[in-house]
Symmetry: C5
Subunit: 354 residues, 5 copies
């Protein structure tokens, strides 16, 4: 889920509105699927080419065109021509390093969101840019890769249960936003587990890699934060009714998404504070270890250095050293040494050193 | 009182307005109690089923329906149907990880608050979400668990003393908010005692667990802060008269609650600053200890190493060492050693090392 | 001047507007003094009971009722009845842990301020809550204790010099605020002296207590800050003419008080920055000391350990060690030792270690 | 790319509007080039003197006058006279330490921007001030040095492809801003590479110079930030239509530049956070090294000091030491020493010291 | 340039508007100079007494009255009476610890600014309060000391070149502000040199005084910041045309001063960031030194302790030690020692310790 480096250099110098894909090159074909529905029926189809979009444009039914893959500019261009989209908008769809934003082009609203989800294979978090265009009776979604968090929406559309088939394109756009934000919680929980694990590690068994792991987590949280903060403004703007395409009954649902976004931000910020604190704990735990090392050194050195000195004295070769000839002297000196050592030990005990 | 982990993943993918309880599963039955009163009389009753609510709805008296336990979606749904509440609102009641907020649905106001209280059994702080719905002539409160801070309000209602029976449902809603905020002070005092205790510990007898305790306190304060900050905006919005359900005479009381909220925030922030400072004090006190260890080592090593060297000299086996044969040499050397040692001691004394 | 702990728990659960004194219990009788004046005359009197207030209420003269001691709810209640004050206001007067604030009740303005002053006995700073009620032709002031900073105002009233007797009750209220804010400067100067003293201590002779003293100062500044920041908004609101009781000619004077408040805040913030920096200086000065200890240890150990090793070599008992028999060997070895030692010394000198 | 020191002292005391160049003195001649175009034709020319500008002023075509070098006040003055520019504006053009800003002089808009680009020779980043004046039908650009990022615009103008020749002077001004902001990404990428390199260095092989390099990077980011933050406000102001010279169709393009600016800021801030974290990592890695040094010392000292003591005992010269005469004593003592040493080693192993 | 301590205690308790000088007492006589001019002529004169002001008041020419020294309240009072100034304004002039501010008294504007300049004698920075009163056709300036930064304005007035004589009093007031702000750059450059010097010192040769110097610089920057931040608001307010005394043509010049103020703030903030970073660098460089000390100790101790142990073994007096009698034993042991030592050295080399 690490923030991709902005290789936008590939674009610098091109005229605005030039469609160049910025992101990993991919070989797979772009897949275009259409769901066209009203309250009574639903049609689901995969399009062979972007030109077929035209057939749905002027129908009164709600049309959801989903595009998996934005690496073929011609496809995006065709759809753009079909729905009469602004060239800068198309550029932003291809240029997948956008910040979340919402732009009102009067006859349609353009929204860019970061979708986060846990990959099914390995449970790792993955991020991709989803561009959503909401028009009078259509919703276009553009994703970087196949695989998304919208399957639940499709199921609800197919089954026709709940409000979704009865309400317009704006409700569908809301559902898409909602699905994306709901998945943030899943990613947050995975991150939260990492934070907890790291907390234990820092206290119980910090090693050299710990600080690196703390910073990796910090960066993920930073990335998450950068995805969610602008999203908040986006949804808050929509919820305040800035665009007429979101009708009144849908606004209360947007408020709900807004609440969720705030909750995500709250959780991210709380986690950031916790992780920040971990650096202190880590440093203090390194200090504690240094302290331990020093204590061992001090205890050993402090006990044996004076003893060695005493031994040194009676190792001197003076001809006249009266003690040397005294028979019990050796044992008395050994006793003296034991006494000095236990004195030292008592001192350390009192100082609470071991 | 630790912030519960948001297990909202259980909800991701469900259509909005789906009633799923998020929180600990509980076995106890949901308890619904009603207090219905006007200036002259009061009726208190426990309902067997949520359907009985209907009887009170159209009476001119003020009705307070309190629900203990939100783990049975059907109960909440029935009450919601009875009072014609929006499905998203019901969802929020069950979904007990809301941020404090107030939403105006025109014919009623929906407020979510965090109730903190010290458990009677062990004096530990506990948090739970209280959802309050204020309508023209009713107040609905939803709590996660039995046991609350509203007993004082019930007593006042029963006794009929003071303003409470004379004023409308909005005054009751205010009283509920007031009771909740007043209890924050109790929790804050308990926390304040912990802070003071910790301060003493840090200065007098810091150990390995101290930093952990500092961070635990920091987290509790963080959690408290996250509960109170949004509350402030909530009450400030209500006090400014954003909802018409709070009538003019009640607004001055809301201002009072607002003042209390600000005081709580102030105290939390002050405590946070104090606790932040404790980390520095702790680290410095570890440094001081290391310093002490180093000094002991240095004093011992510095005194005995030169002495041992002198002893080493006269332990050499050269055939021609004139001092060895000199009779008083041994005592002179011992004297020299004593002199060197006292020189060292004097030096350390001057350096203020012990 | 340390912030008193909010023992508001004594109040939790009581109906709003209940008059309970929160603060230290005191035995002294509450003292009520009245100054009633217009341009031509002034009357000064001490009232036996609060009921006597009524006599002054409807006179056209300006009346200043000052109450020393708020621990007798009945007194406050009587005055409240006399001047028709809102029960929540009376509650705030007794509840002496309010934040500075101004509330407009249309026929009067209620202001709460923290009065700081240096006690005459020992020059220590003391804080107390002053509640001021400004009406059309009266000013009520409530203080926790006898002794205040208003003597200068009384003298000016008595002498009749200057504008004070010519202007209305609002000018008197302004004078009271001004006297309170002016005294902040005195307290700030005392604190500033403490800061300077501490700065010297940190650099010249830091000891274990130093950090504690830094934190004590930090707390006092924090407390001061919490008293002054809200005051700023209070006065700024009044100065913008939010209440009609402050007439136009008085507003320019309020602007002056506002400027002083800003200056106080500025000075507090500057002191806070200085004190924050002191922690770094302290820690670095501890580090420096550790460094000194280490250097002494290193110099001694590094010089003598090699010498002791040389002595050790010639203390070995091998039968065939040619040097032993060489007559000048002893002196040569002593010379060698001196040479090694001076080499070491030179190295340390070059490293700038002493 | 280091921030130039503001040698504005050279100016202090001169009357406002005095044209004095502040910056490096340069010998090269100022180069003035003109591109004059409409949809059907384009003329490109290098002017010998600034007076020739007049010829283009009143034509309906769009005129782009680019000036390379601002060190000759007379040239700037002549152009200023020709286009009737305010003296303070001319002063700002010469005074190349301006903050990015936009000023509306009604008949023209004056914009100051920092242009960053990687030098072709060595790939190093370089900064220079570009002043842009947008009038009804002309754009004037003033650069400090020859060499810029506008070649792509000139190519597009020459080829006549895309919108640029069809739209007015405001679109040209937009294109210039866009080219400048696009180049920020190139510089950011170079910086990003440096950050990554430094991250590796800090973890793997920190040395004395590392901290210096961290701070150098911090400063570059600080400088970048100071260039981009005000730019954001500048473009946001223009995009909101503050100046009438930017016509409606161009505003949507400005919004695009605005988005890019925000992205640049985002990336700068993220890099700043990462670099800030590096200081902690660096300090901790120094601590770790100290820890390693201490451990080696402790292990060696702790193992050998007791052994040396044992050897010291049997080096004493007492006449009566029974062990000395015991034949296997020497080997027993050696064995004892080996045992003590392995005990110590086992202890360190358990403590995880190596 | 250190911030003077606010000895405002001298004032506490006096009625508002009392003229008491707060600042250093000075013996020199207050000097009043007048420049009276219109487009055609200029008169320059030194007044003996403040009463002579009256002569200029009602002339249509622009009058600039400059007062050097504010320690004689009577002088200020006389001028105040002559120009009909508000007593609080006069109080602020004498009370030289004001924050920069602008107050609109309708018939005149009162501005307080901090003037910073490098003393001619020793190049040290000095600060003083300049109070400026701008009326319809006059400007009054009050300075604490003789010596200012206005000589350039006087020269321009005398020579009559440029706009200054043609424009009104507001342009003169602007010129005064401009001269003051321009001098900030000079002071900033001197400070910038100090910062650079300190940076080198911290890296190359940090000593005990370094941290003190860092903090001294930090304080100067803090003081500078406190002088400039409010100035920004002052000028921004004037520039927005809050006072009618500044006429439209002058506003564009004020915008220029505003830009300069922003640049000063920017530079101050950048310097503050740099200086903040220096503390880290300093602490890390202390750590590095400690590390060096430790390494020397460790290398010496680690090499010699084992060698001394070997020597100790063969210094034991056991009767049966086979090696002792072996003839080459001594040399073998010496060789062994050399081998152990070089092993150690190799280890340290590999660890990159020297």
């Amino acid at each position: 889920m690490s923030p991709k480096r902005a290789r936008s250099s590939r674009k610098a110098g091109l005229p605005p509105g030039t469609l160049v894909h910025v992101g990993e090159k991919k070989a797979e074909k772009v897949r275009i699927t259409v769901m066209d529905y009203d309250e009574s029926r639903i049609e689901e189809k995969e399009l062979d080419s972007a030109d077929q979009c035209g057939a749905y444009r002027d129908k009164p039914t709600v049309t959801w065109v989903n595009v998996d893959g934005v690496h073929e500019p011609s496809v995006i261009e065709n759809i753009g021509r079909c729905y009469d989209l602004h060239p800068l908008l198309l550029e932003d769809i291809l240029h997948t390093i956008q910040r979340p934003k919402a732009e009102d082009f009067e006859s349609y609203v353009f929204m860019v969101v970061k979708m986060l989800y846990l990959r099914r294979e390995d449970g790792k978090a993955e991020a991709e840019q989803v561009s959503v265009v909401l028009g009078e009776n259509y919703v276009l979604t553009f994703q970087e890769r196949p695989g998304d968090v919208f399957e639940v929406i499709r199921d609800r559309l197919r089954s026709g249960k709940g409000r979704i088939r009865k309400m317009g394109a704006d409700y569908l756009a809301y559902s898409i936003m909602d699905a994306i934000v709901d998945n943030y919680f899943l990613v947050l929980e995975a991150l939260g587990d990492d934070v907890e694990e790291l907390e234990e590690e820092v206290v119980d068994r910090p090693d050299r890699g710990t600080l690196g792991r703390i910073y990796a987590l910090k960066r993920e949280l930073l990335f998450l934060r950068r995805s969610v903060w602008p999203l908040r403004e986006v949804i808050s703007g929509l919820e305040r009714g800035e665009s007429l395409l979101f009708r009144k009954p849908t606004l209360v649902y947007l408020r709900d998404v807004y609440d969720h976004t705030i909750q995500v931000i709250d959780t991210v910020e709380a986690n950031r504070e916790v992780v920040s604190g971990l650096v202190d704990v880590y440093l203090s735990s390194i200090s504690n270890r240094m302290n331990d090392v020093m204590k061992v050194l001090t205890i050993i050195a402090t006990i044996f250095i004076p003893l060695t000195f005493i031994a040194g004295i009676y190792g001197m070769n003076f001809q006249y050293m009266p003690e040397l000839a005294w028979r019990p002297a050796y044992f008395v000196v050994l006793g003296l040494m034991a006494f000095v050592a236990s004195l030292m030990m008592a001192y350390f005990k009192r100082k609470d050193w071991f």
